[in-house]
């Protein structure tokens, strides 16, 4: 078993050597945009590192390990913040519902259209579905192909076919609704 003093010095050594790297990793997240304080994340990362080292575990590849620690600290903070906001949101929603006028026709139509698109996307065949979903969530073709580890041509082909299927499915649904109403 390593003496605590040695673990302390190792912890200090890693923090010194990787301070700039950790800061850089945290900066990549643009945390203020999500209402998170970078200092909270840095503190969380330090605690996690200390726990690892004091648990006698060896960090095999510090750079990639730190990257993972930063990522999971950010996700945990996001989830924690969301839980804290939940109560406030619930109260706010209750107030809005009390004040709100009944749904307008336009809002109902928009909601129905959103549901129709969401369901139609869910019915696409497997390989095309994920590409279309990511595209509709504003990812670009190179970003989708990078995430899925597919060639740009394959991704483009699947996206094109998926979007064509989606449009056809929505047109069919529209025709069906028109026939029903006429």
């Amino acid at each position: 078993m390593e003496p605590p003093r040695r673990r302390n010095s190792e912890f200090g050594e890693i923090l010194d050597a990787y301070a700039q790297y950790i800061n850089l990793q945290v900066q990549h997240y643009d945390l203020p945009k999500y209402g998170l304080d970078p200092e909270d994340i840095l503190q969380d990362v330090r605690i996690r590192l200390w726990k690892i080292l004091s648990g006698e575990r060896t960090i095999v590849s510090p750079a990639s390990y730190i990257k993972k620690i930063v990522s999971s600290a950010v996700i945990d903070q996001l989830r924690r913040r969301r839980r804290e906001n939940e109560l406030f949101r619930h109260e706010k929603q209750k107030y809005i519902l009390e004040q709100a006028v009944p749904y307008s026709g336009e809002a109902i139509r928009k909601k129905a259209a959103e549901e129709a698109v969401g369901k139609a996307v869910g019915r696409l065949i497997d390989s095309r579905r994920q590409v279309v979903k990511l595209y509709l969530l504003n990812l670009t073709l190179p970003e989708i192909s990078g995430y899925l580890n597919w060639s740009l041509d394959k991704t483009r082909n699947l996206l094109y076919r998926g979007l064509a299927d989606l449009k056809k499915s929505l047109r069919d649904l529209e025709d069906e609704n028109e026939n029903r109403s006429s």
């Binding site: 990549h28 590849s61 483009r156």
Partner: protein
């Protein structure tokens, strides 16, 4: 309903924003979400995450946060790793213990790089072969314009057909895959680009084309998408 890409995106994002599961028991753990961005992660995991974020606005937000950081990281990948001296002192991959000679690190890096380059060249070569040497009868092979070719207007599209095809439909798309032209039924295996379409093609831009074969007794077959670029018009000399 207007079915253009912009409207589809807005509607789908509205749909996803409304999907808030009552509990997060079925959500992937942070580690799984992070893992999905690793190049070595399986496609099954990546696809599962892509499916899940369309049904859970909480996970979608987290996915986008991670995605944003990876994007920003790629942009600044040129920044020198400040911990490099420490890693060198620790040895390869930062393991504890005596450092290994730098020579082997460079040799392995060089070997890895040459393997990666040769694999890439091999794949590109295979892809070109598969696009041009596909035997007739097994599918549609696009012949002209060749993949990646730059050419001037007017030109004819040519392809190798499929046996027992009743007719073909040719589709032309712009860079963002928006349709530019869809042909009428084509009975031949070539077609001259109509002058009104040719005049709309912008020099320097990339376009994509594909052919679909329609047969009475078998399902439709589609060619691959092939890209080409339009060259600027040639300037004629005054005489």
């Amino acid at each position: 309903m207007r079915i253009d890409h912009h409207n589809l995106k807005a509607l789908f994002q509205g749909y996803v924003a409304s999907r808030k599961p009552p509990s997060r028991k079925k959500c992937p753990a942070p580690g799984v979400l992070i893992q999905a961005f690793e190049p070595a992660a399986s496609t099954r995991v990546k696809k599962r995450i892509a499916d899940h974020i369309a049904e859970c606005s909480f996970c979608r937000e987290e996915f986008m946060v991670l995605f944003g950081s990876r994007k920003s990281e790629t942009k600044s990948s040129q920044v020198k790793n400040p911990a490099a001296p420490y890693i060198a002192r620790l040895g390869t991959a930062g393991t504890r213990g005596p450092g290994r000679p730098a020579f082997w690190q460079y040799a392995f890096a060089l070997l890895g790089l040459s393997l990666a380059v040769s694999s890439f060249l091999f794949l590109v070569h295979q892809k070109e072969l598969s696009e041009t040497r596909q035997p007739p009868g097994t599918g549609i092979t696009l012949v002209y314009p060749r993949s990646g070719q730059a050419l001037s207007v007017p030109f004819s599209f040519q392809w190798q057909g499929k046996l027992a095809t009743e007719y073909y439909i040719l589709e032309l798309f712009d860079e963002s895959l928006m349709p530019v032209w869809t042909s009428e039924k084509i009975l031949d295996v070539q077609v001259l680009i109509p002058s009104d379409i040719a005049s709309r093609l912008i020099p320097g831009r990339t376009y994509f084309w594909m052919v679909t074969s329609v047969s009475p007794n078998s399902p439709q077959q589609e060619s691959k998408l092939s890209r080409f670029a339009i060259l600027p018009p040639k300037i004629r000399s005054p005489d």
